[in-house]
Amino acid sequence: MKIKSLLSIFLKEDFRNFIVIFWTFVFPLIFFLFFTSLFGNIGNGSENSSDMEFRAGIYFEKPPTGLAKEISQGLVTGLGDKNSGGPFENIYVSSFDEGIQLIKDKKLEIFIVFPENLDMLNLKVVLSSVPAPVVKSYYRSDSGSDFARKIFKSVLDSVNVEFYKRISSAEYTLEVQELNKKASDTFSYKDYLFPSVLLMSILTVSIFNTPLSLAYSIEKGITKKIFTTPIRSGHFLTVVILENLILLGISILLIYIEGKLMGVSPKAFSAKYIAYLFMNVITLISVGLLMLSVFRKLSAVNVAANILYQLMMFLGGLFFDVSHTPMIIRWFVYINPVSYMAQGLRNIINGMPLGFLNYFVPLVWIGACIIIFSLNFKKVMNYE
């Protein structure tokens, strides 16, 4: 009854706070939708590049003839052919200078110049000692132009291989196989992002909301007033944890509904997944309480929460690979419980087993946090 009364005070305050509602319930949903639509088609390789668009300037120093013509035209058409997945929009320019100017003005991502001696190619196929004509590509340092340059390099590379293939007696077939999931599945960015969004929302509540609102209550004397009433500190802590769980429960439920609508893998709805997620929730709540007990003052908790939140999120491999970062920061990846949680949640979706570390590291954190927090509890609450 006492717990219920106190909980209702805490929850009412939370639910009337725009910041809490927004960052806990609304933001993760927007984030998930936004990034799935933004990146949903990246990573499928070049097969699905119809949405990409790079502008390539094409210039022939001299119109080619014969085989050279056939090959170069084929190459150019391939680049610009949307239907076969060419990522370029070809723009034929009338002079070299015009092309250079266009690339400087950022009207092109790449400028390809086929040399005057391109016809040498006709000779080279019969006489291999003839020097190879050099196709020149001009680009800038910005990421778009760099991307275009890399694509063109790969394309030209495969053209070269094609020459040898035609004269070779051997025939090799190439088969590309994705590991890490069943061959029938196609790459699914939403399955990748789903655990990230869940963990991000757990981090928001446990590292931000709870420690900050507790630090505020302590600093403003609200907890002091509560401790003049006949409520046990254990009850108070229960209320704080229940408050956390309720906020998170709602937030996770909303993300699940969105996930269902967006067609996230059914494995994310399995009991194992949800149980593991629950363990993650408990771990991160403990970490939040630990942080509060170490920093105590509202302003210090605020700074610590901001930094810890970003570090745990970005160095937890939620959005990009962090397993190859330099050691200066990689140690944090290793001690960060979020790294193991993200990996664990993804393993379940990918039908892989959870490893020892996926349980062990979060459990160590829970243990350490509970011990330190309970030793510090009275000091934290400003209550001797």
């Binding site: 725009f18 910041i19 639509s37 088609n41 390789g45 790079f54 590509s137 778009g144 790969s154 990009f320």
Partner: protein
């Protein structure tokens, strides 16, 4: 600028710098981010412009006996085809698979007796941007080796048309982009956070009753945040030089101008958000969302060109693209038509000043109300 204004600036200066956690936060948070993203995105690796990958290879025994070479030199030969990427030889398919799954190698290649080549890669979407290049480079290298394609029929030379004063690479672009983000968020959040703080302290009302003009209050109170932000940019620039050996060379007076005009523009943006949303907390959240969107639509972490066409237009209406261009110009990484340079500066500054003078009175009224 009159005495009263200077006095006000001094007053806020003392207030800001005595708040140590605030100073730390404003100055070092962007720096921490720089280090973090720098390491994650491999800023430290400026010697190699090209990203290098590591492949694992398994030759079936049948294939090895086909080639009349000792296995040792056969490996050397195949390694040469993969250069500059690294190649490790694995004994059997199973160990290669494990190496791929545990990210020891970026991709695995199996050549078996039936002339079949299998490329295995880890479909962990954490590598999603890299996967395309991993596959391209790996497939081409193994095909070249198998078909004996030592020489090119058509070779390629690439030239970076650097338009800037210095020879730049992609890392210079990335870092100048990060600095642009820092300037923009500094400008916008300086007003929003300052107001948040002063509103909590109940200071705004007290200033409303003095003969201080609203825009004087807004500028003076935000001034120190902007100053701090500038310091943090200077630290980032120096760290970039020292740690990452960046090529850029800043034209400092011009940098100050760019910082000023873009900060003014973004301050006005921040105020506009506050006036639009009334509630400070709502404005704060809106600003954070705007920053997130800007970070991803700035063409800094990945090219704008790969964003689906139907939302790509967002990049063109957000100021970040333009501020990043200005910064690259003053960093010497890229050059810009001088008229355009001043035009963007003037538009940013002018819209900033106009919005500031139009909205700060309304803002003060709104925020003093409760």
């Amino acid at each position: 600028m009159n005495n009263r204004f200077l006095n006000l600036v001094k007053f806020f200066f003392l207030e800001t710098f005595k708040n140590k956690s605030e100073v730390f936060y404003t100055m070092f948070f962007p720096v921490i981010f720089l280090l973090l993203f720098g390491f994650i995105f491999g800023l430290g690796d400026t010697q190699h412009q090209e990203e290098n990958f590591e492949y694992g290879l398994v030759f079936s025994s049948g294939y090895l006996s086909d080639t009349n070479q000792s296995s040792e030199s056969a490996y050397d030969t195949v390694k040469a085809f993969f250069d500059p990427n690294k190649l490790d030889i694995y004994a059997d398919n199973e160990s290669l698979k494990n190496a791929v799954l545990s990210s020891k190698v970026d991709a695995g290649i199996i050549v078996d007796e039936t002339s079949k080549v299998k490329v295995l890669y880890n479909s962990d979407p954490a590598n999603m941007q890299k996967i395309t290049w991993i596959k391209f480079a790996g497939e081409n290298a193994i095909k070249r080796f198998l078909y004996g394609a030592k020489k090119d029929y058509l070779s390629l030379s690439s030239e970076n048309i650097g338009t800037g004063r210095v020879e730049s690479n992609q890392m210079d672009f990335l870092l100048t982009g990060i600095i642009a983000i820092s300037i923009l968020s500094g400008g916008m959040f300086s007003v929003i956070n300052t107001f948040g703080r002063y509103k909590k302290l109940g200071v705004i009302k007290k200033f409303m009753v003095t003969p201080i003009k609203s825009n004087e209050f807004v500028i003076a109170s935000s001034f120190n945040k902007i100053l701090l932000n500038f310091f943090s940019i200077v630290i980032i620039i120096i760290l970039g030089k020292v740690i990452y050996h960046m090529n850029y060379s800043f034209d400092w007076p011009m940098l100050i101008i760019v910082c000023l005009s873009s900060t003014l523009g973004m301050m006005a943006f921040g105020i506009l958000l506050m006036v639009l949303f009334k509630e400070l907390e709502v404005a704060q959240s809106a600003a954070s969302i705007l920053m997130t969107v800007m970070m991803f639509f700035a063409g800094i972490y990945f090219p704008i060109n790969i964003i689906p066409g139907y939302i790509r237009w967002v990049s063109y209406i957000l100021p970040i693209k333009y501020v990043a261009d200005l910064l690259r110009h003053v960093a010497g990484v890229e050059s810009m038509n001088i008229t355009t340079f001043w035009l963007i500066n003037i538009i940013m500054a002018a819209s900033g000043i106009i919005l500031l003078s139009l909205t700060s009175r309304q803002l003060m009224k709104d925020q003093a109300r409760n």
